[in-house]
Assembly symmetry: C2
Homo-oligomer: 197 residues x 2
Amino acid sequence: MIDLRPIHIELPPWVDQLLADWPKVYGSDEAAMGLAIALARENVRRGSGGPFGALVLESVSRRVLAVGVNQVLASRCSLAHAELLAIGIAQQSLGGPDLGRLVPGGCTLVSSAEPCAMCLGAIPWAGINRLVCGARGQDVRAIGFDEGDKPKEWARALERRGIAVIRDCLRREAAAVIRDYPDAGGIIYGPRREKRG
Amino acid sequence: MIDLRPIHIELPPWVDQLLADWPKVYGSDEAAMGLAIALARENVRRGSGGPFGALVLESVSRRVLAVGVNQVLASRCSLAHAELLAIGIAQQSLGGPDLGRLVPGGCTLVSSAEPCAMCLGAIPWAGINRLVCGARGQDVRAIGFDEGDKPKEWARALERRGIAVIRDCLRREAAAVIRDYPDAGGIIYGPRREKRG
């Protein structure tokens, strides 16, 4: 039988509790990044997923629309990256696939690490107009994750589309959560196939 | 309130009926592509989504594990590309994010069109070891869809990872479904922001 079940990806139950202690509106990118990093750190501490957190903010009001944490292993689905959870939840909450049209002034994606190739590709489709990144791709690769094949000059490619890219926002704190993940017993899942050429 | 709902993406109800008339095992890539194109065509005919269909096959047994059709507008979620639906459903059906480990000999993704930047990025994470494409990216762009920024030489980049790439499999038939989509009243959603530089 070919399985026709829906795709179902949910946040871990502790997210609700964590958010109760955090503001709903963030005046600065650093403040918003603080929440993305707190989500990543708690995901590691609880053993509920990879060391990555993200959120979608309204770019003008700076209000949080949705958050995400890595749920690849828990949801048994490789699509469940923090960024895609935050994007998908924001879209289904607002009722449409283009956040840039649904929210006057557009939406900002705040991610505790630079997005992998998949999540980068998702950003224009989602109508995001600002991307704020914490850790660098090299911080993610340093513990063995393989981010995939990004376009060379990916940040410039986004900027050519009118999507602003802010890098190294609280990079040290964000990278520390990633660096601690293997010691906390975290699993480095994903493509580890032999590379040729 | 920050919405914490799960992401939920489902196939349209007609998929079950269509599959009843198709085999479960495909000896050739062309035969499997026939199903991907039939899914794309029916999605357009029913007005249920974009002109794209995909399936995940076990690479050795050639058995279909899951199928997908574009559901971006219906699911109100920009992640709902045909390839990601087929991948996510196959993973949640088998119970893990790495199809390459779950299925001896790995899995093949058959897509009625070359994947966009997001779906390309998803392929290594999912543990796919063969990609079979129908229409070319230029056939998709010709009706106004913006596939995003792929790495130059994306096929070679996948092959360097040990992922075989087969292009132009029934390209003419696959491209015809795409070409007919605007005339059938299909909406060209997605990033249409002004490009600079």
